[in-house]
Symmetry: C2
Subunit: 354 residues, 2 copies
DNA sequence: TTGTACGCGTTATCAG
DNA sequence: CTGATAACGCGTACAA
């Protein structure tokens, strides 16, 4: 009908491109590009003209094309095991904040604690041409080849919280050892001398560290660990309940429990109460993560806070450093954050004995 | 040094492109493209050769380029108010599942209940050239121009849970009215006759519906609503506590409370207990959302479950329909899911009176 | 300061 | 069935 090259069909997007602006203004695309990207080689007047028309026509830059051209997007890929609970949402929150400040957007993927899915997530992110990949490992991830592809493409890779045991990576972690140590020492200070531990899967760095912190704190009080007072599990509520039922059958049950997670301690608390065992008078409790529900239970649960937002920010900072560094430099930086113990009713005998 | 066009620099990504495959095999890029995309016009033998080499060289398709060319990516953008709590993570879970099944990836953005951020999120998604935008509105969103841009680009737009009041949109919602009606009727069946309601912001469709469900249930019992038994708030724990403190000062306090959310009911429960009021004997409670903590409180909280995963799946289904439909057809489909009441201790007088 | 021309990796069109 | 070529929208040496 019309002889125009681009026929603005009524229903289709009015996607106005740099070429359109250039044609309209009678300048070259180069000029437009420079005006929009605030390049130095550009006359102030021309720049204003371009910017004005761009606004008028509601020009939207096609980041896809830019990414293709530059071989890099402004997207950040995040892989986490799950987004229930408090920890990961908070970390993601920190990541989003810092990323947005640096002009990046964030894609979030869940591995649902499944290596297979984790692998596919990484693929997805690579396909989306992300500028960086930020990962917290799935519980059952024990091999790490799927991350080689990321590195081999020169894309910055940062692990956080759950990191590979190899250590040959860039990572941000909490000082889990210190957190566990603090919590355990606190229970000991409350007078406990038979202190049990609900431990997590030991192939995950975090649970290993928490167990070690527990052991080391015992040692400072001259206490030897007892195998029957340490159980290993997936840290669910049920796992906590089951462990407690077992411990209560012992000739000498524990007088305090440090759990490597909050859910498992919740299970312990519920079972203790149902069995008529008083918390904290008979048995004190402390958990890890400072989940929201720790302030809801009765008594409230003492727990180690993980500085979630700070972790997210640190992850992005590390990514930015890697992105800025020349590809050749293979750094292996590790950022370590300090946890904080939140002391609540489940461990305070002084208050409860009243 | 070498006469090759592409000099594979040691440190840079070994990104092998279709052109590389074509050159290596002595065929055209067209052929390679067809083999890879399973086009019909291609010899079986040639196809195998291409596929084999592609695998050998670990060819990774550049979806970015494809998206640029086709003007469409396989990315789905999701905007939610927040990802704490149970509801949104679960819905996202449903979305991810269904999207992945259809070959789409998912970007999640949080508006943090802020229109400004919501606006920017939508921009971000458009920049990322998403194939669809799935939105649950921020609490204070009352204007909707920022979504016009999405539609004007011909990108399918689906709202869920918190939708614009205009109704001129594609959406997936829970039958909030039915949920509230069920919960209220249940409390009435427990013998309550002075039933209070903790209502949410009425410009949000969901809270409006829940309030109406409450009112309609009262009506079926011939009860007239009383203004002093309905409070409006942002539904936080504190809001619930405050409302209860007020109600307890009334000459005739309520004998049951239906809250439009679980947090607000939690606040109510805590305050009631601290004041020595027995739940459910003196006052029954029911909330909305079936949050994880409803099973932790004592007594456990009766609450309306929102079919989160189903909602996510429905959202994606609707998106796919819109994407398949010709641009001209302006449908306004609304999918309505049925909620389910989870009855727990906070509302069961029969059990507690024992 | 501005413009020309090319390339990023893919797909669509048309010709053979 | 296969191939050459143009195009998607943008960035950037290089030339003017």
């Amino acid at each position: 009908m019309s002889s125009r090259k681009k026929q603005p069909s009524a229903s289709s997007p009015a996607a106005v491109s740099m070429a359109d602006l250039a044609r309209e203004l009678g300048v070259s695309m180069t000029t437009v590009s420079r005006a929009l990207s605030d390049h130095h080689s550009i006359g102030a007047a021309t720049k204003q003209r371009v910017l004005k028309l761009a606004k008028k026509l509601n020009y939207q830059p096609n980041h896809l094309a830019a990414a293709l051209r530059k071989g890099q997007s402004r997207l950040l890929g995040v892989v986490v095991p799950y987004i229930e609970g408090k920890f990961f949402p908070s970390v993601i929150q920190g990541i989003e904040q810092a990323a947005s400040k640096a002009g990046f957007s964030v894609i979030v993927c869940q591995s649902h604690e499944d290596v297979q899915l984790e692998r596919r997530n990484v693929e997805t992110l690579l396909h989306a041409q992300v500028a960086g990949v930020l990962v917290s490992l799935a519980r059952n991830t024990q091999q790490f080849q799927h991350f080689d592809k990321v590195r081999s493409r020169g894309i910055p890779l940062v692990f956080f919280d759950r990191i590979p045991p190899t250590g040959l990576v860039n990572s941000v972690v909490l000082n889990d050892h210190a957190g566990a140590f603090q919590a355990t020492r606190h229970l000991l200070e409350q007078g406990c001398r038979r202190l049990a531990h609900l431990a997590g899967p030991q192939h995950l760095n975090i649970y290993q560290q928490r167990r070690q912190g527990y052991l080391d704190a015992l040692a400072t009080y001259g206490l030897a660990p007892e195998d029957e007072l340490i159980t290993y599990s997936d840290m669910t509520v049920d796992d906590g309940a089951q462990a407690v039922r077992h411990w209560l059958t012992l000739p000498r049950p524990p007088d305090g429990i440090f759990g490597a997670g909050d859910s498992v301690i919740l299970g312990a608390l519920q079972t203790l109460k149902s069995q008529g065992v008083r918390v904290p008078q008979d048995i004190t409790l402390a958990g890890f993560s400072n989940e929201g529900f720790t302030a809801i239970t009765e008594p409230q649960l003492t727990s180690v806070d993980q500085r979630c937002e700070e972790m997210g920010e640190a992850v992005v900072r590390l990514f930015l450093e890697l992105a800025a560094a020349p590809e050749s430099t293979f750094t292996q930086r590790q950022v370590v954050l300090q946890p904080e113990l939140f002391i609540r009713g489940s461990s305070q005998r002084a208050l409860a004995s009243a």
